[in-house]
Symmetry: none
Subunit: 220 residues, 4 copies
Amino acid sequence: MSAAPRTARGEQTRRRILEAAEHVFAEHGYTESSVSRITERAGVGQGTFYLYFDSKLDVFDELVEDLNQRVRHAMSEGARGATSRLEAEREGFAAFFRFTAEHPALYRVVREAEFVSPGALRLHYTRIVEGYIDGLRQAQLDGEISDIDPTVAAWALMGIGEMIGMRWVLWGNGAGGPGDDADPTASGTDAVPEHVLDEMMRFIGGALGRGDRRSEGEDS
Amino acid sequence: MSAAPRTARGEQTRRRILEAAEHVFAEHGYTESSVSRITERAGVGQGTFYLYFDSKLDVFDELVEDLNQRVRHAMSEGARGATSRLEAEREGFAAFFRFTAEHPALYRVVREAEFVSPGALRLHYTRIVEGYIDGLRQAQLDGEISDIDPTVAAWALMGIGEMIGMRWVLWGNGAGGPGDDADPTASGTDAVPEHVLDEMMRFIGGALGRGDRRSEGEDS
Amino acid sequence: MSAAPRTARGEQTRRRILEAAEHVFAEHGYTESSVSRITERAGVGQGTFYLYFDSKLDVFDELVEDLNQRVRHAMSEGARGATSRLEAEREGFAAFFRFTAEHPALYRVVREAEFVSPGALRLHYTRIVEGYIDGLRQAQLDGEISDIDPTVAAWALMGIGEMIGMRWVLWGNGAGGPGDDADPTASGTDAVPEHVLDEMMRFIGGALGRGDRRSEGEDS
Amino acid sequence: MSAAPRTARGEQTRRRILEAAEHVFAEHGYTESSVSRITERAGVGQGTFYLYFDSKLDVFDELVEDLNQRVRHAMSEGARGATSRLEAEREGFAAFFRFTAEHPALYRVVREAEFVSPGALRLHYTRIVEGYIDGLRQAQLDGEISDIDPTVAAWALMGIGEMIGMRWVLWGNGAGGPGDDADPTASGTDAVPEHVLDEMMRFIGGALGRGDRRSEGEDS
DNA sequence: AATGAATGAGAGTTCATTCAT
DNA sequence: GATGAATGAACTCTCATTCAT
């Protein structure tokens, strides 16, 4: 049974293992990552791992949890200070893409979670979506956007961010075509090009509409 | 080295292995699926597997390829006969969700492909997206939709379909909450509820807009 | 149970398998050679193999037997017409080296026989040695060489031929140093350089001495 | 990846595996020796093997290397104190035969190396031959032997030792005839009979000649 | 707190051989 | 006579995890 570290030294060791795990998982995926590779990278003995984690799956879950908190924090930080829902959306996405570019682990690790730890995956998506829903509902109250079902819209937004992020961040801005069989680790980590972000926001802007549009439309 | 079957009997055996692989992969994911589980399910000896496939990865790739063709066929069949781009979109998505509900393997297998066979994953998404792009371009020529960048819009549509499909088809219509840690296999395979499809299409309809809207708006 | 071919067609098939086996064994050694590789090279079905041979070991033995006959034939052909024991020796060795260069299988296959089929190995060496012994004994009767124990001398000659052949024929005339880790198949198949053959014969000439030397030497 | 043992316990385990490997390889040859047989004999778990060796081939190479050092040491120890080149040769061969009798692995393992690890094989022979060459050259400077090409002579000596060793040590002093199909392991491990050694040395003595013979002999 | 040694179950894969056609 | 389908035992190697120090 693992235990919480009792000393500052222990705390540090634990953190080093977690960081090593993030890198290793990001590079090789869950199944191809071995505990020994993690401990090696962390510079600790193999046995030490089990002082702080119950199992390989245990670190994985903790990692997903950790990444989820960090990405949500990054997104809300990015959106802070926006003066409209759409601006908030844009800044939130931009922050998300930046975070993804800096932590490719997020994508890779999370996607693999479907098989490894389905609960963690659902929790991850659901939490982000809940943030969207809150924002959308508020915007609807403010008459800023249409009265679309906020849950459906939120999952749609989630999907857009995921796919655009995969296509332009993870695969790199260049080709990204199927021929590009290369090591996924190697692919670009640039942010999404400005043009793509613009068009994506135009797409979303139209999707969410204006609060008054429907009445207008229905009036005519 | 594997070889193509040279007799009807061999052809049948190969097909049985492929079918077994689809089920096993869908249930357990790539890494948790062993060749022996596949051959056991197919009712053949372990060695027989290697008569027709070079490796475990080989079947996987073939399976992704196969599923890709089938889902695209299902989507274009679904959309055939639609009288507008939006109707085509709706019917295409509906067909996609139906297919997903009937073949949960698609989702699971494809998502895992990111680590297992990145080339296969990209090819899969890219092909579907190319179909979208063609449709969007035509609709733009017909003045049916706005002049949004079709590539960006297509990837956004792909993401929407993916995420909505995951949320409502794969996780089931019910809870789907994070607490639902259970065996993903067990989750519902119903289609997406009518209401969700409606709202999703409202979202997409707004996103793609009308071809004349921008000019009109800009004119005024 | 295999059987002797009953038709001309069968005879031909059998021979094709045997030839294919020689090449495959020579290139990959016994254990790395699979029956399927042999049948593939022979252009026949896998089952056909067992029509003419009881087992993989069976072809191997037959091959060793066959090579043994051919190399002894080549050696005696080479030595035919020699006017002295030493000349006969030289021509015999030269023929041996030529044969080895043309059929590297001999060396490789025979050497591996030690583990695969020890009986075959012993038989191979013993037969060649017996030829030497006969020749040496005759030469002694003719007073051409010293009265050294012909059995010991014969095995010594066998060893010299083996080692020189390995060093200069199998490893190639060039470097042959230990650094040369390359594929043994690729190594040169040139014959032994003239100079080496000369020196080797000087060595052997001294070793066998002249029949009159001992008496002479002892007399003095 | 294997690693060097870091504790005394690990060191001991590694040595036990190496010793077990020597016996198992000597008895069954490389291909018929399985890692599990080795670990079983060493009394350790299968996985333990890979703690200290990268692969089956890895132990094999190390074993060849080890045997090579030991046999060369035995030979130079044996020859130490000899007062003539010929005496040194005789004692060196005697030591070689004794070593072979005590470590039949040498022969079997080395001979199989041709296919398993050609580089190791060449290195083994080349190193021994180099020792011969040095000795021969020195003896030539001292006028003790003829001016024969030392490289050719050295390889010839190597071959003689190999073959005589195989015939009388490995096959046993008795029959050795081809009929003796039995398990090669069972064959005798006695040293070479005195008579054989005598005759072999007479052969070699004549071959190397005396430094003054050629000029003197040819002059007279 | 920390570690390296040890393990055994299980993975993917190969192959000599048999057999129905 | 000839064949390709089929098999299952055996192989090498990996790895999460436990434990004595």
